[in-house]
Symmetry: C2
Subunit: 482 residues, 2 copies
């Protein structure tokens, strides 16, 4: 984790060195063995067209405003599948809906109040802003009332032991490190806090807790709770689990330091029967090697609190625009560019698994997979899980992408995108768009993940980056080495 | 308004010129006729003691966390009165509770959803985040469903006319100018938007609207609605009124530009019978001229969504600390320092009126009144409604206050504080602490007005500024000229 932190912090330095390498190489060989002048010209045209287009932004506005939140199993998710499929058919792509079975969890009432604490005014409570974590079971309809114990990590929880946890509500008061995020290591800041959201409930339940809360995993201070999936362990009781805002976590911790704090917590989500849903899979057929596939993708499902603009409507619309631009410019990629709008990234990964099951036999024909799922901020370039030879083949791209500030190709051992993970694991060269994520976790998984968080210009830069990389891989004389 | 904008933007320049003036004067006359060496030393001690104290912050933590929101008429407001009175008695002050009769408005359910709009998924709605404006009447319990018309100003509303407004919900989509606020003119940015919150409902009702909404008056983008008082005109029907978040205003405007938008709006606040409440009035008696009064104050009531940290718990606790510091240091002001925690600034001004009625005959003995009600940001100094001679008498203070960056004494024609307005109107020299308010309206009147928004250091700077000014006025050989 430390190495990763350092490497992220060094992004800027890497970026510069990457540019310099590209320039040096370019001076030596204006057109490499892989990039002829025609391809280079086409890529420049793609980039320019993307940067002057509002296609992606208009699509995103429709997904967010006209359709809305798209949690798996919802009517909006189903409608979004039809909408995106229709738009891709309009572009002339071969579109299939590929089935996956998703959970169907629906949020209910979510309220909380401190009913007992030092110094309270008679007959009053202190309101606590809470949201249920995705997948949580419900409290009774009238709520669960119990004392709150506050811990800052798992060690503190275990040190309390069953005697002091049983029958209580546990609050994991773990701060999201905003300085780390601002310094460039937003992924690590998220990673070190989100573990409590994932497994906190089961850890607390093992010691007899009746409910579990986390301090919201995110960087804003606007009384804004962040939802996200939890993972119940098979060997622990399932207890209701929520996230309180950073402000409410502070208040609870302050009051608990003075004396006993009791909370009434009401969360009434329901898990309904699983629902048949779909990945949208749309092919723009290659002219020379149509059986070879280059995936461009984002996930269509979103959390239910906001409207899924940065997570991950943005990823879907820039993948759509890759196809739109190729069509608009009348370009003919050698290989097939496959647009995928994944389903159920947020709370299950059913779409990713279904694709892997259905297409496993063809993975050898998957030349590369690209996903964007880190927001819509200015793209610095890509995280690349690819071998050195493949990266060398793509090196000339830096010269093109650097003009929109996206020239970085950063080798990573894994983690280019949740939906393309099965491809990555199989050895397919995989790429994740690497956005400037300094403010991403302020809005992530909240009601404030809405269209206004996306800059039309930055979205266009993302579309440009994805289109250029995808078209290059689809058009190189040689297949990208695995 | 323009002049005011310019003057605010010029704060920094004024500040520097103010320092320079003070320095020049100091070089000429180290101790003026008004400030002898003893007073100067006492003021420096007060400032140092304030800056190293956490008294104000601890009091604020109690008001926010242990008591909570303090809307007029609430149990918390009543409890806060008792608490502050008790703390001031602990300091040895003569404390009175002075009666005022306040409204008792309580928030109810507040939900909204778009039920019809272009492109919606079957059987879905788009959620709208809304909060009731203070004083609003209620919709029916099942809500009001009507078409939404969006206007950007009163002229557009009037241009629509009764035919296109009758039976509709009007949305005043007026943006808070965040650039103006960031540039220093936060008060003007607020002023030009808040008029729609104040009188929008009556303007819409005159044309037959069934409900009125404003875009939240504030600068944040975290799906956070801002409440605040409305003022129903006597000659217009009273219709329910709320504020939607900036994001929701954008969504509604986007959808309304495409076709018909209908909303179901449910607001169920209640106006209960008026309640007897109190200003807390606490005297630290002057040794030589006890009948002469210098007021230090903030307002104790707050809106109900947050816990009233910046609006205006901060003002109350720095006024309390003025007395605490004078006592702690064993100082003996010539005149009486009167701490007032005002009631009902937010939705009625009953405390201010009650004080004016009860003390009108003694206004001639009120030497000065200070209020802090612009948050808890770093203090730049004071807005001063005082004559030139009075400002000249206070000029040496700049030399002391500049060491904590609060050396500005900015003459204003009016508006030093809502609660001291009757004193100001009577000609009493009045001062409002002038905080750096660039982010104040991000949190103002929202659920996010909580303790964490206050920096302990900046709160201490505010306490220092108020204490120094108040003690100086209370201790000058001559009474501040009117």
């Amino acid at each position: 984790m430390k190495n990763r932190t350092i490497s992220l912090i060094c992004c800027a330095a890497l970026l510069i060195s990457c540019f310099n390498d590209a320039r040096a190489q370019r001076r030596r060989a204006p057109a490499t063995e892989h990039f002829d002048a025609k391809l280079e010209a086409d890529l420049n045209r793609l980039q320019e067209a993307a940067l002057s287009s509002d296609y992606a932004y208009r699509q995103l506005a429709h997904l967010c405003n006209n359709i809305g939140p798209r949690l798996s199993g919802s009517a909006q998710a189903a409608h979004a599948v039809e909408y995106v499929a229709g738009e891709l058919r309009k572009l002339g792509l071969e579109v299939r809906l590929e089935k996956c079975i998703t959970p169907h969890w629906v949020r209910g009432v979510e309220t909380a109040a401190l009913t007992e604490f030092v110094g309270q005014a008679p007959k009053t409570t202190q309101k606590i802003v809470v949201t249920a974590l995705g997948g949580s079971v419900a409290t009774p309809g009238e709520g669960t009332t119990a004392e709150v114990v506050v811990v800052e990590n798992f060690d503190q929880l275990r040190a309390l032991g069953r005697q002091r946890v049983e029958g209580k509500i546990v609050l994991f008061n773990v701060r999201f490190d905003v300085r780390m995020a601002a310094a460039g290591a937003w992924g690590d800041a998220y990673g070190q806090a989100v573990v409590y959201r994932g497994i906190g409930a089961s850890e607390a339940a093992r010691l007899g807790a009746v409910a579990s809360l986390v301090r919201s995993v995110g960087g804003a201070d606007y009384r804004l709770p962040h939802t996200g999936a939890l993972r119940y362990a098979d060997d622990a009781p399932r207890i209701p689990a929520g996230a309180v805002t950073s402000e409410d976590a502070d208040t609870i911790a302050y009051l608990a330091s003075q004396g006993r704090v009791r909370m009434r917590l009401t969360l009434t989500p329901e898990t309904l029967p699983d629902v048949e849903s779909f990945n949208v899979v749309a092919d723009l057929k290659g002219t020379e090697r149509p059986e070879e596939i280059v995936i461009v993708s984002g996930h269509l499902d979103s959390w239910d609190l906001g409207t899924g603009a940065i997570d991950d409507g943005a990823g879907v619309v820039i993948a759509m625009q890759t196809a739109q631009l190729v069509k608009q410019l009348g370009l003919k990629p050698k290989r097939t560019i496959r647009v995928i709008a994944w389903m159920n990234e947020e709370n299950g990964g059913a779409g990713s698994r279904a694709y892997a099951e259905a297409h496993k036999a063809e993975f050898s024909n998957h030349v590369a997979a690209i996903e964007s799922d880190l927001g819509a901020g200015h793209p610095l370039g890509f995280n690349a899980r690819a071998n050195a030879k493949a990266l060398e083949m793509l090196a000339p791209l830096a010269e093109i992408l650097r003009t929109s500030g996206a020239g970085l190709m950063r080798a990573v051992p894994a983690g280019t995108g949740a939906d393309i993970e099965p491809l990555e694991a199989d050895g397919v060269p995989c790429f994740g768009v690497l956005q400037d994520g300094r403010t991403y976790f302020n809005y992530h998984h909240t009601a404030a993940d809405t269209l206004d968080k996306v800059s039309p210009r930055e979205l266009a830069e993302n579309a440009a980056a994805m289109a250029v990389l995808a078209y290059a891989i689809a058009s190189l004389p040689d297949r990208l080495t695995r």
